[in-house]
Amino acid sequence: MRMTVILWALTGAAGLAMGARDSCVECHSALSGDLQAPAVQMENDVHARRGLGCAACHGGDPSSDDPQVSMSRARGFTGKPNRLTIPKFCARCHSDAAFMHRFQPQPRVDQYAQYMTSIHGKRIASGDAAAAVCTDCHGTHGVRAVKDPLSPVHPLRLPETCGRCHADPQHMAKYGIPTNQLAEFRKSVHWEALEKRGDLSAPSCASCHGNHGATPPGVATVAAVCGTCHVLMQQLYDKSPHRPVFDAMGAAGCVVCHSNHAVLRTSPAMLAGPEAVCSRCHDATSAGGLAAAQMGASIQKLNEALNRSRSILDEASKAGMEVSEAVMRTNDAAEALVKARVAVHAFDPKAVEQPVQEGLAVAAETYQAGVDAMRERDRRRIGLGVSLIAILITMAGLWFTIRRLESQPR
């Protein structure tokens, strides 16, 4: 059976490549609704583009117009495959290194192997047809490359695709896992980077969970996930007192404070104040609590100094003063702020203090530049006033001279 399909697939491919007719597409394009849709979708399909038509997967004989012939079992027609057999079905080609090599010099052929390690794969193997198979994510007809923005597995569309099942309470009811991940992810800075800035380097579902071997990262592997981009935070955390404690607790490192899906923008409010994350465990008077309060206060101080600088420079700029160099310099203070917030992950106020002090120095310098600019603006206004007075006196003089000239009899 397998041999038949492959043989017909190759024939079909050769046929299509040579420009032979594809009766499947011809007939089905003339139908309507669900029977027509696949034929239309195949126009954009990566398989079709490489010469693998309908018969490559469904079997049958695309050279015959007679439905009895083209869709006969004798010619290898398999019809609509059973969901549970789809992964193996796709793997017939996609796990065959020699076959895939015809289309790409460096093909990946481990997708099926990875899939079988995933929760989806395991559930399919045990006969649960509700779990995801290849076609659920990649589409059936009209499969596009992952890079294609219209592909359901493109980073920008992936959350929506995963959410089709994972955000559906009815579908997920029997598995007992939460269905709020998509909603949470949409609140995160990662989704903001993807959607608003189009920054494709930001993580989508597959970046942390893996794609074919999709599994929630365990406690041990969360570090591998976050630390791939956030290297410095990871390194500092590893050396910090939190690491051994969280490991012992079986708590998943970064996720404890930053959450897994709803990774929000950080702020000093996470360290100190009513919304503080630290106070969830640390008592206000404990060593940890005091350290958190200190770090929070430090960073808040730099934050405020930077805002003060920015606002006075903005005021000066609006008043027409040229302060572009000072404005550029505030970026150095902003960078110090970033460094300080990274240093928080050492959970040591001394580590945070150093960049904060550097930043405060720059902020003070730029604030002074703003003050000087405003002073210069005032000086200009005074200068203007003086010259206007001189002008008005002259105009008065001219006016009276004219009056005198014209009041005299000629």
Binding site: E335, A390, I391, F400
Partner: protein, 143 residues
């Protein structure tokens, strides 16, 4: 009486005229006097002496108002790139062991041609030209 008024008028006109002329001429004359640092454009920036950097080391210098990463790759070879990462504008640094340029913010990596090796940066780093004049190292914009 008329005589007095005439002289007040003359004073008014004279003083006003003189004061206003001075308020026009004074700025013009001060303008013509060149300021301390007569260079307007920053096409070049001094980057210290040859002896300041050892081979396979780097430092950040100021080019106008922007940071530039100056790398001494060998005894005789120098490279310079914009130190602003093309991902989210953090300042990059040189990694001596790996001989690569690294951005600490999101682990972006560039090679010694400024091109992206891995990580989120979308574009290469802008390259600057380095000239060694005797003992002095000068970084200039690539024309």
């Amino acid at each position: 009486m008329a005589q007095e008024r005439r002289s007040i008028l003359r004073w008014l006109l004279g003083t006003g005229f003189t004061a206003s002329i001075i308020s026009f001429i004074y700025p013009a004359i001060r303008f013509m006097n060149p300021p301390e640092a007569p260079e307007a454009a920053v096409n070049e920036a001094p980057a210290g002496n040859v002896s300041d950097l050892k081979p396979n080391s780097a430092k950040i210098i100021r080019f106008g108002s922007r940071p530039v990463l100056l790398i001494r790759t060998s005894e005789t070879e120098w490279r310079a790139f914009s130190a602003i990462c093309t991902h989210l504008n953090c300042t990059v640094q040189y990694q001596q062991a790996e001989r690569q340029i690294w951005c600490a913010c999101h682990n972006g990596l560039y090679d010694l041609n400024g091109r992206v090796v891995s990580g989120p940066p979308p574009r290469a780093l802008e390259e600057y030209s380095v000239r060694v004049r005797g003992e002095e190292v000068v970084v200039a914009r690539r024309a």
